[in-house]
Point group: C2
Chain length 204, copies 2
């Protein structure tokens, strides 16, 4: 509980922690209130009900991810430079919060029609960009010929899945291998790029 911040900010931070870890149905308003150092009534004063609070958190999370990715799109690059940046930025985001993938997937799974709007609104500009790059690069022969959608999902899987698994790996890892785990996640960036680029580079 950080004291020099507004009540609303503290609520949002607390709610983010709890919702991200436990999901909508698993989270308790009481726990969020405790984390924020206030009481339940005040949660309702600021956000009316649990659902609205969750929606607010979800939108914030998605916007932050999209924003991080968009910022990395400024400069002109070839496809490999660009994908390298996507991998790096995405991994950095996930390194900071490893529960994000499950959080987003679960929300989408529970109420797709509701959250699809938020997600596509924010992510389509980013993703559409990459897809178009894949298409053009394949045409020019700069990368091997894959279906762009498959290729795109392959990349997301390489980046996101290990982070989605990580929280559980971390908790069940025997003591003597713990020190290696942090390095392991850090090294994923380079490993993903190596693997991805090997699959992409034409034989010629």
């Amino acid at each position: 509980m950080v004291k020099d911040s507004t009540t609303e900010e503290r609520i949002v931070e607390a709610a983010r922690r709890v919702f991200i870890q436990k999901g909508l149905s698993g989270a308790r308003m009481q726990e969020i209130a405790d984390e924020a150092g206030i009481n339940k009534a005040l949660l309702h004063y600021y956000f009316r009900n649990k659902e609205k609070l969750f929606d607010h958190i979800f939108e914030g999370v998605v916007k932050k991810i999209a924003e991080g990715l968009t910022l990395s799109f400024g400069k002109e690059m070839d496809i490999y430079g660009r994908l390298g940046t996507v991998v790096d930025v995405y991994c950095d985001i996930l390194l900071e919060n490893r529960y994000l993938p499950l959080f987003v997937l679960n929300a989408m799974n529970n109420d797709p029609l509701k959250f699809a709007g938020v997600l596509s609104e924010n992510m389509v500009p980013v993703y559409g960009n990459i897809l178009e790059d894949f298409r053009q690069s394949a045409e020019k022969g700069v990368i091997r010929d894959y279906d762009p959608v498959h290729l795109f999902l392959n990349m997301l899987g390489l980046i996101i899945f290990p982070f989605a698994m990580y929280p559980m790996i971390e908790k069940v890892a025997p003591e003597h291998i713990r020190p290696f785990l942090k390095n392991f996640l850090e090294s994923r960036k380079e490993e993903i790029k190596k693997f991805l680029f090997n699959a992409l580079t034409p034989l010629k």
Copy 2:
């Protein structure tokens, strides 16, 4: 509700459907009872409480996955044949139930210490096998030189992640592209193998 099966069987089937879709905290005993065509009291008669019922379902799901994978390990093959089989079998399992990845990940996330035992007990024999194969093949130069653990996670990400995303894609897809979606998932098998093998095959 299938009539010619024991009550316990119907409970287990109903519970599997509901738990897999909604998770532990999202599932309601009432809904499971309704799905099974019985009443709540009977659930408790057979499984004492919600937690024990969930544990039973989780173990069954993990065992079934492990079993499917193990069966495919009978015959001798080179690494590419073997990985091809793993991809095919895994995809077939996930095609039948696309909610499986999220279900397992969430359970592990909620209570890692509890479910780690079940998971490692069943999966380590299978996964250890593949890891060892990676190690030896890299040594022999049959595949490129990757860290086996990274490589293994890469493969899992390629296979599992798109299926984990699929339920939501399906529900938000506009009408006119629906017909393509089923084919898309089917075609993942071949796309994964193509991508994976391209990344693995040494340049020489």
